[in-house]
Subunit: 245 residues, 4 copies
Amino acid sequence: MINVTVWNEFRHEKSNEEVKKVYPDGIHNCIADFLKKEDGISVKTATLDQPDHGLCDEVLDKTDVLLWWGHMFHNEVSDEIAEKVFKRVLRGMGFIALHSCHLAKPFLKLIGTSGSIRWREGDFERLWVVSPGHPIAEGIDEYVELENEEMYGEWFDIPTPDELVFISWFSGGEVFRSGCCWNRGAGRVFYFRPGHETNPSYHVPQIQRIITNSVKWAAPKRILEKLNCPHVPTSVEELRKGTKK
Amino acid sequence: MINVTVWNEFRHEKSNEEVKKVYPDGIHNCIADFLKKEDGISVKTATLDQPDHGLCDEVLDKTDVLLWWGHMFHNEVSDEIAEKVFKRVLRGMGFIALHSCHLAKPFLKLIGTSGSIRWREGDFERLWVVSPGHPIAEGIDEYVELENEEMYGEWFDIPTPDELVFISWFSGGEVFRSGCCWNRGAGRVFYFRPGHETNPSYHVPQIQRIITNSVKWAAPKRILEKLNCPHVPTSVEELRKGTKK
Amino acid sequence: MINVTVWNEFRHEKSNEEVKKVYPDGIHNCIADFLKKEDGISVKTATLDQPDHGLCDEVLDKTDVLLWWGHMFHNEVSDEIAEKVFKRVLRGMGFIALHSCHLAKPFLKLIGTSGSIRWREGDFERLWVVSPGHPIAEGIDEYVELENEEMYGEWFDIPTPDELVFISWFSGGEVFRSGCCWNRGAGRVFYFRPGHETNPSYHVPQIQRIITNSVKWAAPKRILEKLNCPHVPTSVEELRKGTKK
Amino acid sequence: MINVTVWNEFRHEKSNEEVKKVYPDGIHNCIADFLKKEDGISVKTATLDQPDHGLCDEVLDKTDVLLWWGHMFHNEVSDEIAEKVFKRVLRGMGFIALHSCHLAKPFLKLIGTSGSIRWREGDFERLWVVSPGHPIAEGIDEYVELENEEMYGEWFDIPTPDELVFISWFSGGEVFRSGCCWNRGAGRVFYFRPGHETNPSYHVPQIQRIITNSVKWAAPKRILEKLNCPHVPTSVEELRKGTKK
């Protein structure tokens, strides 16, 4: 069983009528709903305005994969919680950063760059699969089309992805590395571009499939204990002297 | 001094009036001409229909960086010469594969995949810089525009590039990893997409700058001796016994 | 169900008494035996001296992951079969190259380098996990120790691995990138170092665990049709004109 | 001309007699001295206990490559200066992290992991070249030996290096990725392992050569302006309408 927590800023959906129409229960519940349909995945949600942003130690300690959607209020996420998320990823938790989370605190800590992009609202987007054998692209044809999405364009200031799964084409003339995998510590990080709050991208079956795939890909193989720097004795000489094993 | 050899199939330019107008002296001489203007680069050319395709041992042994343009007659390149080029790259020679050389024999031997693409003639192309700090992108702004080029689209069947410098946007809806770096043996390989024979891309100053940059980047730091598998004695114990150095 | 074929040269085990003692039924059967214990894996074997080396089209077409052990007779593998294996990997089949297969024909075609190493028989080896979150390292502690193995040392002439899972330490003073992952086409390739024919490494539970993990990691997510270069019409304009979908 | 600043904690050399003997003028001056001998490099130094740690804006703005040596007092580096160094790297400045700087503030911000290692004082170290064609390995034979160094062992918690140049072997049984390159923003980052304060490694000609090579490799190709997220108009349609260029 993969224990998933879907985190959402959950402000646009309450303040903006246009967003409310697209995601009446919040982006987090839309994502949670399609993940719940998958065998082997257990889903909870958490939001910015809950105590500890809904991410107290008990929740984080039981989370295998954390999905994160935020946009205008990245700075209201406390440094303490961002640090806890960061450290848990290093110890093995998967982290899926969605759309405008190229600027989210935990994501920036993990990638080590500015996350800068260029942007514009209102393009046609085509996500091309550039790694057809990758588990995150399983079941996806050559490309996925989204009639209307916010444009994100290069230069995207990220470290070279360990694996690049999607590159987007936008009708206005831009390209973007839209599906990027990184390893950090014992954890796996996936950035996935689509998901502007006024566009129904998370209702699109292929987008749901990609996110579901990414959750499975990011599920931890082990959770490490503390990452300190252990002092160690010489082990080989013991072994040779016959004092070890 | 970087010793460069520009290799060209040199058939289209003799048989096709349209190509002849764009590259009257052949693509190889167009490229050689702009490289010659650069301090520290010495340039020769070679073509398919010369003996040994112009790549006898004396030529290859003195070549630091080999540029390769071929299109319809990849199969007329002898296996022996392809193998010699391949081995010299492993020993340190730089190799720049241009445009339709995604299917050239030496390139395919080096990358280990099929080089398959999708294609169509007659698109507007914009090459986006996705690695602004890379030496091959030096002096290039955010993107380079080519009014008319052959479209190459993903999925491009290549190994993950060690460094990805350019991604192209095409007006017809495709994207392409257009500037790709790989290390192979002690040598460096760069694939650069533009350069359809009926389009004047090699006359564009920014394209010339990129190719010139790539030659400098690919220049060898050392040329290795034969790559065999040496049997070696235990060296550490000698050192400890004081019998070494 | 993952359909696995374990391929072995199967000559040493018949001609050399020392090898026969360690692997009385051949290395392939030793490996097949521990893979068979795993749920969801179906195993067959094939050897060099069978017709088509045991790898006729019917066998290859049903193979999801191919393991390969060869040593002294790489050159007796026909170019035709090597090419078929190569192409099936690009279409999605997993390929696990074991020990001396750093020089096997299909492996060399896939990596695009010489595979050169340095070597010596009779060292103590310690394989360090350098990617603890990787699925191939699942269940493996900080390192695995092998009392007696052939030493393989750097420089190992391989392309930079897409993922590096193990680095070996040898008592004689060498290091080696012992567990290397590459993507090729839609397929996944893993090189795993241990397994000299006179050493019982494939009887070691941790080594068995690593190989089993690698089979699961390399299992295809899809098998592609032919990798040709399709000519494609402009798709975006059709879409905009409403003539598409 | 490459403008280099060598930064040093510069405390051990004043408080510890053993260190004082090895580096009487401080590690920074030892490094500055050998860099100064190289044509095309201009060198200044800065230390922790200077105002702003010697890294006021005027200094940073003129620094092309910053070398960093720190050990016990990483936490005394102000967050503000660490942030300034981090941002300047993203804009293009090279950054060379030496030895115990696997835990230095600017390095940790750039890599996005914990930098955790295992360690022990007093081993024989052999640095193997695993990327003989890399500019940082230019002029270095198969390996460099250091009679006495502090051992750093895997697992080293770093992101997969974009390029791995050296792997160390230690007499006590450990291995370590000792020469690691990353791209961050428009800047280049190199981590180089040797350099314990009581060992004379920075006096060793081959070590000096590697550090000098790394400075040239990390020298910026451009310095970017601010990395914000620009809103951009649709550019392609303008181009097509003939209103652009």
